[in-house]
Symmetry: C2
Subunit: 407 residues, 2 copies
């Protein structure tokens, strides 16, 4: 008899965004006339940068002729892309990362979900609260937690992120082996300073822990003092893996390209204490279970680093950051405390009431979709995440409607 993975039974309810989609559909059936504005899931709305469009067309044309046709590429990604990434995203910022330490993939969600497979099931995992649910759910599925107790899983070390600590996870009281960090943060929009990241790197080195650093929103950093990559921090190459994505940077949510950085210095340990290269382990996993990213898509990602591409991506992210400033200012004017929104497309609003109740209020009274913070963890029970990914006109309209609804 074929038995299921027993850990799946521990998973709570359905996935956050599916819940939201269901409630929005119900609202649309009740109010088919309402013009909905979505500031929820964090999907981009603006067209792809022209440099990427051009690269896509050119690459597709290469596939029309046997002489320039490309079939299977390297599972890790083409050198043209890995080299552009290493040069522009890391070396240009003084972060010592080589092209062969880059693993191109079809999404940071996949990478961040897959990476935990490399580790034993009995390691102790630290998860910020609030948090992107994928970090938690993939560890539940893998059997690294006990049962769910209300809104938390037994066996996970939760790192509360609240107004008191500026929404930045603090070092844990008891030793942990694997730590998920995200800066600029999803969902809070908070950013980690160099000193805060250094403290985590020092911690990981002292305890032989590993940091999974999610930098999917790096392109929104405007403050020159903030690190863009964890590899700007001395010692990080030994204890950190970094995840990046073109989804929010260049509008690739529907095009699909991302990458993971696994430095050759990065080690984990066998039960007998022998060091194992995470680069080798991830390479084995990646080549066995993945077949590379679509060739035209890799060319589009390469175009992000061209002079035109960089300018166009900057204009895109500047636009979303203007929206973020509008949202932040709007909620603050209503007397609701906010974090994020300056180096991040997300604004984390302390609503002063139950998050799903506030979500329902915005939906019913303003026809605006936000994301209830409760879906990201216990510490989000009074918060909502507002996303700046929409047109300027929609964001301004949404903020006017919200102001009226809350007046």
């Amino acid at each position: 008899m074929i038995h299921v993975n027993p850990h799946y039974q521990k998973l709570q309810a359905s996935y956050l965004f599916a819940d939201i989609a269901q409630r929005v559909r119900a609202f649309q059936q009740r109010r088919p006339d309402a013009e909905l504005i979505r500031l929820g899931i964090g999907d981009v709305t603006e067209p792809l940068p022209p440099a990427c469009i051009q690269a896509l067309h050119a690459a597709v044309d290469e596939l029309t002729r046997a002489s320039s046709f490309r079939g299977y590429g390297p599972e890790q990604g083409y050198d043209f892309l890995r080299e552009a990434i290493a040069r522009h995203d890391f070396q240009a910022r003084g972060a010592p990362i080589a092209a062969d330490e880059i693993f191109v993939s079809d999404g940071a969600k996949c990478d961040v979900g897959n990476f935990q497979e490399l580790f034993a099931t009995d390691i102790r995992v630290a998860i910020p609260d609030p948090v992107y649910p994928v970090y938690v759910d993939t560890n539940v599925m893998a059997g690294r937690t006990g049962a769910a107790m209300q809104d938390r899983y037994e066996g996970l070390a939760y790192l509360p992120c609240t107004a008191e600590n500026g929404y930045v996870p603090q070092l844990p009281d008891a030793p942990v082996d694997l730590v998920y960090l995200c800066s600029p943060n999803n969902p809070t929009g908070a950013t980690m300073t160099r000193a805060q990241l250094q403290a985590w790197v020092d911690y990981a080195r002292a305890y032989r822990a590993l940091i999974l650093f999610d930098a999917a929103y790096e392109a929104f950093i405007r403050d020159d003092g903030l690190p863009h990559s964890i590899y700007e921090i001395p010692g990080a190459r030994e204890v950190a893996v970094e995840f990046r994505s073109y989804s929010k940077t260049a509008g690739f949510t529907g095009v699909r390209c991302a990458y993971a950085v696994v430095p050759r210095d990065c080690m984990a340990w066998q039960a007998d204490g022998k060091a194992v290269s995470l680069h080798a382990l991830w390479n084995r996993r990646h080549t066995t279970r993945f077949n590379g990213v679509s060739y035209p898509v890799q060319r589009a990602a390469e175009a992000v680093y061209s002079p035109e591409g960089r300018q166009q991506v900057r204009a895109l992210t500047d636009g979303y950051l203007r929206n973020a400033a509008t949202i932040r200012a709007g909620f603050q004017a209503m007397g609701l405390p906010c974090t994020g929104g300056d180096n991040s497309p997300y604004i984390w609003v302390d609503t002063g009431r139950d998050a799903w109740e506030f979500f329902g209020l915005l939906l019913d009274k303003a026809a605006v979709v936000c994301t209830p913070g409760a879906g990201f963890g216990r510490c989000g029970r009074r918060h909502v995440r507002i996303s700046a990914f929409n047109s300027q006109a929609n964001v301004e309209a949404a903020m006017q409607r919200i102001a009226q609804a809350l007046a």
Copy 2:
């Protein structure tokens, strides 16, 4: 201290195709003048069908305007593609599969590697020998085997496929819970008849086992009596998951699109005997760990089902099948027994000697790359897999060179 997944240490050597690539590189350094012909890895060589090219360009153009821009799509794939698949690939053949039972993905390698995550680690897994290594390696990584003993893993039930049984896996002596089947087969090119598949479906129903049916080479079937889908077999909806791919059909190895079929009737069991829907379980996995296939790529896959697309794909596969016939006839003329090559792009040649030795011989004497059967399992120790994925001219040249080399 961060401990690694101990099961990765059991994995033998490196991945088959990486080994081959290394030997080929060494040969090219020794003989930089040699014009290599690759009949090895099974990568396609002919350009994409024009219908797919046109669909790609059109979809890319949609991404240039906010009004037609598409960001995140449904993780399971767009309805336009799922409906085309259900209609053309299944319903048209009398296989009762609905659009919402299709899960679009970026590769059959990923699907077939990921699917085992849904099951408990102590299930008993049956694997044909020879076999596509991904079935084995992903179960090793998940901890479903013991250590490797020479060329096999403890705890797996191997199903030998030899000349005696026509290279078709027979029902096992002891009960198994999960069975991997592939028809037309990679690597042997053998196909399973309706009666053979029915026997497996009946077995799975009797033992509450599950069949993972890999039909990535279905488009090469020309014999009207052979089933294209396991769902043509009565009862299969309850006990089988099927994997398909556009890689070999429409030349998508570098474009990346595939799908899995998980019927709503398909069940697995909790330890307490309660039935669990595999459709629901896979949907949870897919939405948590995957973010959908690139939108232009899904449009290209849809175009495979247009009247032009179907004609163009037929012409492509016809061409490769002509090559296969040439290869098969060539080896048979040399007195080497073959299977496959009529409803399959692969020819499995019984070389009468050690497979890696024969691989080295073809490389050194004919500058032709094949795949040593030993890389697919113990039963392939005397075989090589020859792939028909190349131009007609190259295949003819390769067969001439091989005939000379072996003369």
